[in-house]
């Protein structure tokens, strides 16, 4: 089952790459550099998704003390941190040729930096406490609080003046006017990266389960 997921993700990424480089047209004002969007937006979406899963799994853990929920939260946070890192790196690479800077402290970039650091802290907290039950409990509380930053990141571009542009797809009440090949390439990559996330989390939760079995 997990293996099928992995192959689906791999196929999706290959199709996504072809869509991004062959099917999608060169963007009229930015040129080819705009193609970074086909990685940047999907990785940002996966980061949102991963931390939303941490949030839900943390609530389930606190309510039911289910070890499965705890492992899911742990795995999802790890994958989320990696994808947040890729989002920041790809955004930086995109920002230099378009905005003219690698980094600036506007509300979007700052709130994402906070997101990254909070979940790094979350993983640190998990690593620091040896007693599993207690570590899981503390992590769950932090996993719930840290999730408050997700809406802050997403709506930062509407609530404050920023250098970062508002979202192209997930915008409130406005259909996209972008040409179909651009939208299609973005959607395929969103799906492919979501599959990749699911594959990583499936793999990681199983590994965590085996680790705990071996230690028990």
């Amino acid at each position: 089952m997990t293996r099928v997921l992995g192959w689906l993700a791999a196929a999706g990424l290959v199709i996504g790459l072809v869509m991004a480089f062959v099917i999608a047209p060169r963007e009229v004002t930015q040129g080819h550099v705009q193609r970074i969007m086909y990685v940047h937006v999907p990785t940002a979406w996966v980061a949102y998704l991963a931390f939303a899963v941490v949030f839900v799994a943390s609530i389930v853990y606190l309510a039911r003390r289910s070890a499965t929920a705890d492992r899911l939260a742990h795995a999802s946070a790890e994958v989320g941190v990696v994808f947040t890192g890729v989002t920041i790196a790809s955004g930086s690479i995109w920002g230099k040729p378009t905005w003219g800077t690698w980094w600036t402290w506007d509300a979007r970039l700052t709130s994402v930096a906070i997101l990254f650091i909070m979940y790094l802290g979350y993983l640190l907290l998990r690593g620091m406490i040896d007693e599993r039950e207690r570590g899981a409990r503390y992590a769950a509380v932090l996993g719930i609080i840290a999730a408050l930053d997700i809406p802050l990141v997403h709506f930062s571009v509407y609530w404050w003046r920023t250098l970062h542009q508002p979202p192209s797809l997930m915008k409130p009440g406005g259909a996209s006017t972008m040409p179909a090949p651009i939208v299609a390439a973005l959607l395929v990559n969103l799906a492919a990266f979501t599959l990749l996330y699911a594959y990583f989390v499936a793999r990681r939760t199983r590994l965590l389960a085996r680790q705990q079995q071996a230690l028990a």
């Binding site: 047209p25 930015q30 905005w99 003219g100 609080i145």
Partner: protein, 146 residues
């Protein structure tokens, strides 16, 4: 279970307070850039600002030899003349959004040290004619003139 519920409610209250504090704090203190109206209402000479607006059409002067760049930033109500020495980002241009960092020079213009270009979230394909020309150019560049 009762203790549990208390803990959850307490946690929720703390979390909500924290969220509100972050929101209020950021809204009041972190203004990423000021608008031309806000700056022209109360300019402080020598103070560092970030100024954001649209580059007015027909206002841009660029001297490639000396790298002297001047233009006007507008928000529809007020305009601020900006001077800069250096190369602006590729996306910088008239009729587009820009954020400049620098200070109010006192004698009627904004002295910019950094120029940042804002771009829209709407991505468009080039029109077919220009896409064709682009292909032609790539062909001639690669020496493939079939």
């Amino acid at each position: 279970m009762k203790r549990h519920a208390k803990f959850l409610i307490g946690g929720a209250v703390i979390a909500a307070a924290l969220a509100y504090m972050i929101y209020a704090g950021v809204t009041q203190s972190v203004v990423y850039f000021v608008t031309p109206s806000e700056l022209s209402a109360a300019p402080v000479t020598g103070k560092a600002y970030r100024l954001g607006g649209m580059v007015e059409k027909g206002s841009m002067r660029w001297e490639p030899r000396s790298l002297d760049l001047s233009f006007r930033l507008s928000d529809g109500k007020a305009t601020i003349p900006v001077r800069h020495r250096g190369t602006p980002p590729d996306l910088f241009g008239e009729g587009r959004g820009a954020v400049v960092e620098g200070s109010w020079a006192g004698d009627g213009y904004f002295k910019a040290t950094t120029i940042l270009a804002k771009h829209s979230e709407d991505y468009q394909a080039p029109d077919p004619a220009s896409a064709e020309r682009h292909k032609e150019m790539i062909k001639t560049l690669s020496g493939d003139t079939r």
